[in-house]
């Protein structure tokens, strides 16, 4: 491509996202009419369709702040963060961080501090929905792990690719759940820390509130720590951490997908 073409494309793209810019030069309508009105329609459709995509991905956030506020926040995001991929279902990865910043600067002080984390749950749900399938761990591998004695601390676990963790200072998993059931979210006490596991079990995307220990265990396993180290990290300073209950939840939702034997040779 020539430099001239590059410049024209950059000019066109910038004008699409910025209504203050003039219609790009050298556009021609088929019937010789003024192209600026047509360009304005296209510009409007581009931004509107991206706002709609965000509204589809973050329905709970939209209900919490109201459609009008959501759309103005989304429009600001769209203009600053146009999509890099044609897959609109994945558009919005940067939206939660944008919301965190937006809320700090524009919301009345102290209002909606949980909104960004709520968006993180909603984005994680989309990722979980589109994540690859993977079968749960085979019984043989479980039996082998249980039979390896002291070495059980050195096995590593693999978790389902759909699984992710959202740690929050606020009860966002409960807020999200309240929205699903039409419960009165306003009456909820959201001002307490809560973490969430988001995962897909079969065809259903689930959001489960968990304590910080369980969240840290999952994160440690995802970082590749051994079973023993992950459990120790999660339990450290957190007597409420329940390893058995955490594993039971993971296994019940088919989220434990492999057990790898210790790397060192058995002595």
């Amino acid at each position: 491509m020539t430099l001239a073409t590059d410049l024209r494309q950059a000019d066109f793209a910038a004008a699409l996202l910025d209504p203050e810019r003039p219609c790009p030069a050298n556009l021609v309508a088929w019937n010789g009419s003024d192209p600026s009105a047509r360009f304005a329609v296209y510009r409007n459709n581009v931004v509107f369709s991206l706002i709609e995509a965000l509204a589809d991905t973050f329905p709970v956030a939209r209900r919490v702040v109201g459609t009008e506020s959501f759309c103005s926040m989304a429009a600001a995001f769209v203009r600053g963060h146009p999509p890099h991929s044609c897959v609109l279902a994945q558009y919005g990865e940067a939206f939660p961080d944008f919301v965190a910043d937006f809320v700090t600067h524009f919301a009345p002080a102290g209002e909606l501090p949980y909104l960004a984390d709520l968006c993180r749950i909603e984005m994680a749900r989309v990722r979980a929905y589109h994540a690859a399938d993977l079968d749960p761990v085979a019984p043989d591998a479980v039996n082998a792990a249980l039979a390896c004695g002291e070495d059980i601390a050195d096995i590593t676990l693999s978790l389902h690719p759909s699984l992710s963790v959202v740690e929050s200072d606020y009860a966002v998993a409960s807020l999200w759940a309240a929205d699903q059931t039409d419960a009165d979210a306003d009456a909820m006490s959201w001002d307490r820390p809560e973490s969430a596991l988001i995962l897909r079990d079969g065809l259903d995307v689930l959001v489960r509130p968990v304590n910080l220990g369980s969240a840290r265990f999952v994160q440690a396993v995802q970082q590749g720590l051994s079973f023993g180290s992950a459990a120790a990290v999660a339990a450290h300073g957190r007597p409420a951490f329940d390893l058995s209950a955490t594993l039971t939840m993971l296994v019940r939702h088919s989220a434990l997908t492999a057990i790898h034997p210790p790397f060192r040779e058995p002595s």
């Binding site: 709609e52 995509a53 589809d56 991929s85 044609c86 897959v87 609109l88 279902a89 994945q90 589109h130 399938d133 079968d135 749960p136 019984p139 479980v142 792990a145 249980l146 004695g149 002291e150 070495d151 059980i152 601390a153 079969g202 065809l203 720590l225 079973f227 023993g228 180290s229 459990a231 120790a232 990290v233 339990a235 450290h236 390893l243 058995s244 594993l247 039971t248 993971l250 296994v251 019940r252 088919s254 434990l256």
Partner: protein, 99 residues
Amino acid sequence: MQATVTKLPATVLALALGAAFTSLPAAAQPADKEKCYGVALKGKNDCAAGPGTTCAGTSKADHQGNAWSYVAKGSCEKTASKTSPTGFGKLESFKEKKA
């Protein structure tokens, strides 16, 4: 990782792992899936929606006849689709009727 973290005894680890599996219901088979056409909401189709579109999330209308979603096996032809000639999702792509 902090150096002060205390290791859990191997027996605790083994008991927790064992308990997680003994509590598992016997038949936890993953559900079979089938491709189902005409039931995806706009922008939420799982894959390509015909000429001119090459990726997921591009279908232009609710229940587009050539856009498909994965659904649990056996449930496709029971899922309502307002554009389908039969009124339900189909296992092959179809030409939409006007909703």
